[in-house]
């Protein structure tokens, strides 16, 4: 069973059309939940770390939120340059700190 499930697999938006990406996780204890952005032909780029339910972090048009079962990455008024694959990963407390990654959501924002 996957520990990290991301949905949707792919999302197409018009420029300015806000939406959310979902990351559901199943770990016995959460050490941290991480969001990354990956552009084609490049390695993942770190965006956020969330540690506890209720926590929120923002960066430009992105806001990440966390509950006990899932995280959302909200994209407000997206621009074409926000097009990328967004990866979610979780690290379990009490075990290896190495995170487990989801398969990602491919976002395309049309002008």
């Amino acid at each position: 069973e996957d520990q990290v499930t991301q949905s949707p697999e792919a999302l197409r938006l018009q420029e300015g059309e806000s939406s959310s990406l979902n990351c559901s996780y199943t770990v016995s204890g959460l050490r941290g939940l991480f969001w990354y952005r990956q552009d084609p032909g490049k390695g993942p780029e770190f965006l956020f770390t969330l540690y506890s339910a209720g926590e929120e972090k923002e960066k430009e048009r992105l806001k990440a939120t966390l509950t006990k079962k899932e995280s959302f990455l909200h994209i407000t008024a997206p621009k074409p340059e926000d097009s990328a694959t967004y990866l979610c990963a979780v690290s379990q407390s009490g075990g290896s700190y190495i995170p487990t990654f989801g398969r990602g959501t491919s976002l395309i924002v049309h002008p």
């Binding site: 941290g32 991480f34 032909g41 390695g43 993942p44 190495i98």
Partner: protein, 115 residues
């Protein structure tokens, strides 16, 4: 942030051959990590490379297939041995600048195609 470079950026190889991927970091780090990213799949950890000791491999990955070297605190290599088309993937190296801040940096990746 950490600056990580990888060589080669991409390669096309024949079945049965081996390819060594290099990873260079701009500063000294204790641990370096090698990942595989297959199309439509999640990023999968292959092994953790510590300087001065043997690499630690994750379930499903073995040293004979993916030998790793870590000669110093800024450099590591991953070899993909006796390649088959199933090894076609993107291979990424990664480091933590500081384990406490949980920020993981990735190299640009090596895109490998095995014919």
């Amino acid at each position: 942030s950490a600056v990580i470079s990888q060589k080669p950026s991409r390669d096309i190889c024949q079945r049965g051959t081996s390819l060594t991927i290099q990873c260079q970091v701009d500063s000294q780090v204790t641990m370096m990590f090698w990942y595989r990213q297959q199309p439509g799949q999640s990023l999968t950890l292959i092994a953790t490379a510590n300087q001065g000791s043997e690499a630690t491999y994750e379930s499903g990955f073995v040293i004979d297939k993916f030998p790793i070297s870590r000669p110093n605190l800024t450099f590591s290599t991953l070899t993909v041995s006796n390649m088959s088309p199933e090894d076609s993937s993107i291979y990424l190296c990664s480091v933590y600048r500081d384990l406490k801040d949980n920020e993981q940096f990735f190299g640009p990746g090596t895109r490998l195609t095995v014919l």
